[in-house]
């Protein structure tokens, strides 16, 4: 069985699954329940000067039957005293010495305040620190959280203050509410961070109640923008994780966060460079018990793929994430409808006809639509809308032309080398 033991920037845990800093990691009681259920680590709900929260804090985006496809919150950091949180961290570490407990911190942007906080957290026994430079709501209005994480200079400066005194590994948690996350990644690296956690939640308004016209989550008739998370944000997180992982100026371990709910999600984050995985929304939805399948499924997949440990998975797909300009324009696929599987819903037809390239024909009274192969650009849309797995496949058509990217073409032109424009011209 695959070895799931984890080392993320020097923070060790029996498996890569950590409870992310948030409501499920608010108390020792919860963290110990999480460890009993199988979680490898927990990033404590952010500790700082206690705040007061609003009543009504979460809003959900449901997709038909699926609840909480996206979740947002306007909850702030821990509302419990610093000393109470630290006492509980010590208690958890005493009882679970092999599990990772990471203290998430957010205090006033003053050097001595940060120094004091770091020392206290480490004295309590935290295995590492996570600097919350990402919280997008409430705290940012007070000059903390995303207000730090949105300015590279602040990110670098505060990270360096922490590193002046920290004895344990320091992770910097980044906000996605920026133009290019790698600027912040570089800043954290330059400040001396040992690792990067991302992504924090995305600024959002989840919706409006159409009876009362109040935005959600409603607080006495009003609302505020909140942090968006859950399955809906995973693609954004994957992109940002890969951007940090590929950036040559960063090169420090990544703790992946953002919509992870299953072992498949976990595997994708690992393949794009994550060393550990943080989960919050899925636990808020289903409880700590979900980790059993996450561990089991990940190990089974690794065994089936012949990956002995996490190091052999980490970043394995990164090389395949590239700039658009590097893609081979002489590669061609076309849709093939496998008639024996077709149930005749004609979604592929109308999708192509109205939403794509008019490359599928549907004769009157005929059950199975037909791909007009010479018009098909290979966009995938028909395959994506088809409800039957394997009914529409995208099959490669050899073009007989050598691979050529837009960048290579441009370079060739720049050098005055005559070459054919790659790809095919639309025929419509």
């Amino acid at each position: 069985m695959a070895d799931l033991t984890t080392d993320c920037a020097g923070i060790k845990s029996p498996n890569p699954f950590w409870i992310a800093s948030g409501p499920p990691a608010n108390t020792a009681y919860q963290v110990m329940r999480a460890f009993d259920a199988g979680w490898g680590g927990a990033v404590w709900k952010t500790i700082g000067e206690p705040i007061v929260n609003t009543s009504s804090r979460y809003g959900s985006v449901d997709l038909q039957n699926l609840r909480m496809m996206g979740l947002n919150n306007i909850e702030l950091i821990s509302d419990r005293p610093i000393e109470e949180n630290l006492r509980e961290i010590a208690e958890v570490k005493r009882r679970y010495p092999k599990h990772a407990v990471i203290a998430s911190l957010m205090v006033e942007s003053k050097r001595e305040v940060w120094h004091e906080m770091v020392k206290r957290a480490e004295d309590a026994g935290a295995d590492g620190l996570e600097l919350n430079f990402g919280c997008p709501h409430g705290m940012s209005e007070r000059g903390m959280g995303a207000a730090v994480g949105q300015v590279p200079e602040y990110t670098k400066l505060i990270t360096s203050w922490v590193k002046e005194v920290a004895r344990t590994p320091v992770l910097v948690k980044l906000t996605p509410n920026i133009s290019d996350v790698t600027y912040m990644g570089v800043a954290a690296r330059e400040g001396g961070a040992d690792g990067i956690s991302l992504i924090n939640t995305i600024n959002s308004i989840v919706g409006i109640d159409l009876d009362t016209l109040e935005p959600r989550p409603m607080v006495d008739g009003r609302s505020s923008h909140g942090g968006y998370c859950g399955p809906a944000v995973k693609p954004i997180a994957l992109n940002m994780v890969s951007a940090i992982a590929k950036h040559p100026g960063i090169g420090i371990p990544i703790s992946g966060i953002g919509g992870i709910a299953t072992w498949q999600d976990a595997a994708e984050f690992l393949l794009l460079g994550a060393s550990s995985l943080q989960v919050c929304t899925a636990v808020m939805h289903y409880g700590f018990r979900i980790v059993e399948d996450m561990i089991d499924g990940l190990a089974n997949w690794m065994d089936a793929k012949g990956f002995p440990d996490l190091a052999s998975v980490r970043g394995r797909s990164l090389g395949r994430v590239t700039d658009w300009g590097e893609l081979n324009l002489n590669y061609k696929v076309v849709a093939r409808i496998h008639a024996e599987k077709c149930i005749g819903c004609h979604l592929c037809y109308v999708a192509c006809e109205d939403g794509a390239h008019q490359s599928i024909a549907l004769a009157e009274g005929v059950k199975v639509p037909e791909v007009i192969e010479h018009k098909c650009v290979g966009c995938n849309l028909c395959m994506l809308v088809c409800p039957v797995p394997g009914c529409i496949t995208m099959d490669e058509i050899p073009t007989g032309r050598a691979p050529q990217s837009w960048r290579a073409y441009q370079e060739a032109l720049g050098k005055g080398i005559a070459c054919e424009l790659p790809g095919e011209r639309p025929t419509h």
Binding site: Y349, V350, V388
Partner: protein, 461 residues
């Protein structure tokens, strides 16, 4: 069901040895909705299963061509009023069709999910969610058209005429329905098993059609209370939607004994009287194996009959009732006696037994033939016998009322637009097709309405 020429009374009533009356709670339980309404959550879950097919097979399988994917999508978005409009614009009796349509052989049978070996979308149940929403709240989703000065008379107030009148009214025609019975609605108020739909649901639909300005006159028989000449004088076109009559006579000795009842009359009573006032025997024999037979047999059982036997001269593979109806009868404890051909009803002052003769199928000249086995007579003791062997056609009334009308075996001959052989005379529903579903009758009515509009052309001066 609508019977302008029938005699309305049936020999053989009352039952000599009736089953004991049940208490009201038991009646209500026995006749409770066989397919209860989906909860809001269940409806959303079910609606989300619809793939929203393009050019969807379910639409093509619906005789009234309801845009099913659209009405389901609207349920999913919480637009129940719009959903009901989509349904009722295509089928004004969508409320009852949601309950009584044989969806297994129509829309749900065509659902593409069947091909993925998945349960089809519960289209009937979803349709009910939408129509119940507007019917329960009295929300008006259909509107009459601007009066165009044209008038149409419709004979019968069953599904065909209601479907035709609603379509015409929405185009601006003034419609008057003449119904022989006091209570209009036809099959929906008089003929559907009570556990599928109550008479009051049928009446509510008539009210929906009335709300479009349609004049529905109950207790008026054309040919008796009003002449066809008077109809022609007052109308630009006439539509016949008179349905079928009572059950065909078997022509057997003893058929007039008390306790021998026609299924149509029996079911009508169930629908329009308190259950305790409908006599049922302890031991009931039902003759015939179609859908009406199932309705009669299951409801006799639910009224308290101790034993209900269905007697059929052919075998189980020849049963003409829909599969799920046949299964329902068996689930209700109805016992089938196959290969038994009724020969006579036995009894003195009331039916005491049905004498049958055994039959067998033999191959003759390559064809299966049914033959009675000589000397195989046997008797089934019973207190009540219900005949369900097909309904009478109104040939005599049709020929007397509309001289020159072309009939085929008692059924009105029409073209695709419901045109009869008589100019400006249209027909649809059971009197044309010999007995199909409510949805077919509505579709016929719609087709005729469009033909009327095409034929009459521009509004009258």
């Amino acid at each position: 069901m609508i019977c302008p020429a029938g005699n309305g009374t049936v020999a053989g009533d009352p039952v000599k040895n009736p089953a004991p009356r049940l208490d009201e709670a038991t009646y209500e339980r026995n006749f409770a909705d066989i397919n209860p309404r989906l909860t809001e959550t269940a409806a959303l879950a079910e609606a989300s299963r619809c793939l929203f097919c393009y050019d969807a097979p379910c639409i093509r399988a619906c005789p009234t061509a309801i845009d099913i994917p659209s009405f389901i999508r609207k349920i999913g978005t919480g637009n129940l009023r719009g959903s009901a409009r989509t349904i009722l614009e295509a089928n004004v009796l969508g409320h009852s069709c949601a309950r009584v349509c044989p969806v297994e052989v129509l829309c749900e049978g065509a659902c593409v999910l069947n091909q993925e070996h998945k349960r089809p979308v519960a289209i009937g149940a979803l349709q009910r969610v939408a129509t119940d929403h507007v019917m329960d709240r009295g929300i008006q989703v259909l509107r009459a058209g601007r009066p165009n000065g044209r008038r149409v008379a419709l004979i019968g107030a069953g599904p065909a005429s209601l479907g035709c009148a609603a379509e015409l009214a929405r185009m601006g025609y003034a419609c008057t329905l003449y119904e022989r019975r006091e209570v209009p609605g036809g099959l929906n108020t008089h003929g559907i098993a009570a556990y599928k739909m109550r008479a009051s649901d049928g009446v509510r639909e008539v009210d929906l059609v009335r709300s479009l300005g349609v004049d529905v006159r109950g207790g008026v028989e054309v040919g008796r209370d009003v002449t066809s000449a008077a109809l022609w004088d007052a109308s630009d076109a006439v539509f016949i939607g008179v349905g079928l009559g009572v059950t065909d006579s078997l022509g057997l000795p003893g058929e007039d004994l008390p306790g021998v009842v026609d299924a149509i009359t029996f079911i009508d009573r169930l629908k329009n009287r308190p259950f305790r006032d409908v006599a049922v025997g302890r031991n009931v024999v039902v003759i015939g194996a179609g859908n009406t037979s199932v309705d009669a047999a299951t409801q006799a059982k639910r009224l308290g009959a101790e034993n209900v036997l269905v007697v059929y001269r052919r075998g189980p593979e020849d049963v003409s009732a829909y599969h799920y109806e046949f299964e329902l009868a068996k689930t209700d404890g109805v016992v089938y006696v196959f290969y038994a051909q009724p020969a006579r009803f036995v009894g003195r002052d009331g039916v005491e037994a049905l004498e049958c003769v055994r039959t067998e199928t033999v191959l003759e000249g390559g064809r299966r033939q049914l033959k009675a086995i000589a000397g195989s007579e046997f008797q089934i003791p019973c207190d009540m016998a219900i005949t369900a062997v097909g309904q009478k056609r109104h040939a005599g009334w049709l020929e007397a009322t509309f001289p020159g009308i072309a009939l085929d075996g008692g059924k009105v001959r029409i073209d695709a637009g419901g045109r009869t052989s008589v100019p400006k005379l249209y027909a649809g529903g059971d009197c044309v097709n010999g007995g199909k579903e409510v949805v077919n009758a509505v579709a016929d009515g719609k087709a005729a309405a469009r033909a009327i509009d095409a034929d009459l052309g521009h509004p009258r001066g």
